[in-house]
């Protein structure tokens, strides 16, 4: 009666690649088909760029406005899907039991996160293409190699914000997560100089901005398009540091919440 079955035919694992790609596809479709999410994350950066870089008149001393804003609105645009996808997505799926069902399924947990990261990157690509098309139409001319470089940078750039989103999604309930993401997203973008050159800020605010997560990315993106110079090592270190911090807090919250949740 208490013999334990030691197994007749040990099943083989299904293809890991297919599982990972399947998660990514499902995650992308999920977000793509939710207009309340997809539309603002795509149209906000595109609309702002159109308005402030191309339509409204005005000259900036020292650099080309449309080129400068292509880089910084690019950073602004790639933050949204990562923050909302992880922040709101994880909070929701933790709450409605979807995450539990995933954990019970014979699926590698990593595939769950991979799916969301892939979605954020895919959306980042869409944002870059959208902004680039607007920039081209608006007369911006950058050497193709630099343009590719900007694209490559912006497609990996969501990573720290995925971690920040995960931290928010692990700490708050879904409705609160929406509010927190907005409270983080917009001020962080403004203060990091994503909407206007940081030089218009007072000196102390500029110094403060250097320590915000989007700032090193903005500086790097500006460097790529030839509108500034970045210290790539310091910037990368700051981003890695932020990512590690966010992930650390998320893991801690998860460990603590695992016991208290029910």
């Amino acid at each position: 009666m208490n013999t334990t079955v030691l197994d007749i035919d040990r099943p083989r694992r299904p293809g890991a690649l297919a599982v990972y790609l399947g998660e990514a596809a499902a995650e992308f479709l999920k977000v793509w088909r939710t207009p309340a999410f997809a539309l603002p994350t795509l149209l906000l950066p595109a609309g702002f760029y159109l308005l402030f870089a191309l339509v409204l008149p005005g000259e900036w001393k020292g650099f080309d406005r449309a080129t400068y804003l292509l880089a910084t609105y690019g950073v602004f645009g790639i933050m949204g899907p990562a923050l909302f996808g992880f922040g709101v997505g994880v909070a929701q799926e933790r709450e409605n039991g979807w995450l539990d069902l995933k954990r019970v399924a014979p699926m590698p947990v990593a595939a769950y996160f991979f799916g969301k990261i892939a979605m954020s990157m895919l959306f980042a690509l869409v944002v870059v293409l959208l902004l680039s098309a607007l920039a081209l139409a608006g007369g911006v001319r950058i050497p193709p190699l630099q343009w590719l470089g900007l694209g490559a940078l912006l497609v990996v750039a969501p990573l720290p914000f995925c971690a920040l989103g995960l931290m928010i999604g692990s700490s708050a309930r879904a409705p609160a997560a929406v509010a927190i993401v907005n409270l983080v997203y917009l001020p962080l973008s403004l203060l990091s100089g994503l909407w206007m050159p940081i030089q218009v800020f007072p000196q102390w605010l500029q110094a403060f901005a250097e320590w915000l997560p989007p700032r090193p990315l903005a500086v790097m993106a500006l460097d790529v398009v030839g509108a500034g110079e970045a210290d790539w090592l310091a910037g990368t270190l700051k981003l890695v540091g932020w990512t590690a911090l966010f992930l650390g807090v998320a893991v801690w919250l998860h460990r603590r919440g695992g016991a208290a949740q029910d």
């Binding site: 009666m1 208490n2 013999t3 334990t4 079955v5 030691l6 197994d7 040990r10 099943p11 083989r12 694992r13 299904p14 297919a18 599982v19 399947g22 998660e23 499902a26 479709l29 999920k30 977000v31 088909r33 939710t34 409605n96 039991g97 979807w98 539990d100 069902l101 954990r103 019970v104 399924a105 014979p106 699926m107 590698p108 695992g258 016991a259 208290a260 029910d262």
Partner: protein
């Protein structure tokens, strides 16, 4: 009984903060067997399931799935689970969700087979968010069975379903059992355990308080209560074979029985002046109370 055990809890205990959810629980599901885990809210049913499918880890004792730690993915590749309150992504279609989950398993059913089994063929291309409550529940069930599991764990599968949907669901469960699937099911309803289970484990306050076939459990608890005002004495009634237990003061008596129809006939025959007759199906709560009292 030489049927192998496919899932078990061994002296398992689990606490959440100061609340003891499970204490010293032994539980075994054998291959091809339907085990019903019965108990009121807060009895520890959901915690027991969480331990068996690797969602939580026991503080004491251990939990085994196919001879392995349930947190090992290989163990779970033969397990299908329908959790109690889960919502799937609204924006994905039924077929998309089932296909995605099928991909986690080594030998999944074909998509059409899963959809047919769960009565979802017509809804294949509809998004989850557009489905009715009953249909949503069926999609969650489809995700549990799409991998052709050897063990199916379903946590209160029919809560909130109407009678018709419930019987339809029982039919599918029985079909799977006929195919040799082992099943662990939790329920509030004695009736459900009766209809499906080979064996019942009664949980209360995180402990196993009774275990046996549905019939044994019902008999131990008495399946109905007959109340009346009668001249017959409690001592006499105690000796009747259909009476399991007599309670009451003076002429107002309460009889527990497994055969209420026969008992009522006999009562009326023996006491023509009997009044205030009342028959009440014993609810699970009554059975629980009764068995808890016995256990204490």
């Amino acid at each position: 009984m030489n049927v192998p055990v496919i899932a078990q809890l061994h002296a398992a205990g689990k606490r959440y903060g100061t609340v003891t959810a499970l204490s010293q629980v032994d539980l075994a599901v054998h291959r091809g067997e339907v085990l019903a885990l019965l108990g009121p809210n807060g009895a520890g049913k959901t915690t027991a399931i969480a331990l068996l499918c690797g969602l939580r880890h026991a503080d004491s004792g251990r939990s085994e799935l196919f001879g392995m730690d349930p947190r090992e993915r290989t163990a779970r590749s033969r397990l299908g689970v329908m959790l109690q309150s889960t919502d799937l992504p609204d924006a994905l279609t039924v077929a998309e969700q089932v296909r995605q989950f099928s991909g986690y398993y080594p030998r999944p059913r074909a998509l059409d087979e899963t959809l047919g089994l769960c009565g979802l063929t017509a809804q294949a291309d509809r998004r989850y968010g557009q489905l009715s409550g009953g249909q949503k529940r069926r999609v969650q069930f489809a995700l549990a069975v799409c991998g052709r599991p050897d063990l199916l764990i379903v946590d209160e599968p029919t809560t909130g379903l109407d009678v018709e949907a419930r019987t339809a669901f029982w039919r599918v469960l029985r079909q799977l059992v006929d195919e040799g699937v082992g099943m662990l099911l939790t329920t509030h309803y004695l009736e459900e355990a009766d209809a499906l289970a080979d064996r019942v484990v009664l949980l209360n306050g995180g402990r196993v308080i009774a275990e046996g076939t549905p019939d044994t459990i019902k008999q131990r608890a008495g399946c109905a209560l007959v109340r009346c005002r009668t001249l017959l004495s409690a001592e006499l009634l105690q000796t009747w074979p259909d009476v399991q237990r007599v309670r009451g003061v003076g002429r107002r008596l309460e009889l527990a029985t497994t055969a209420p129809e026969r008992l009522v006939g006999a009562l009326l025959a023996a006491d023509a002046a009997l009044t205030d007759l009342e028959v009440q199906r014993n609810s699970l709560d009554d059975a629980m109370l009764q068995l808890t009292r016995e256990a204490a």
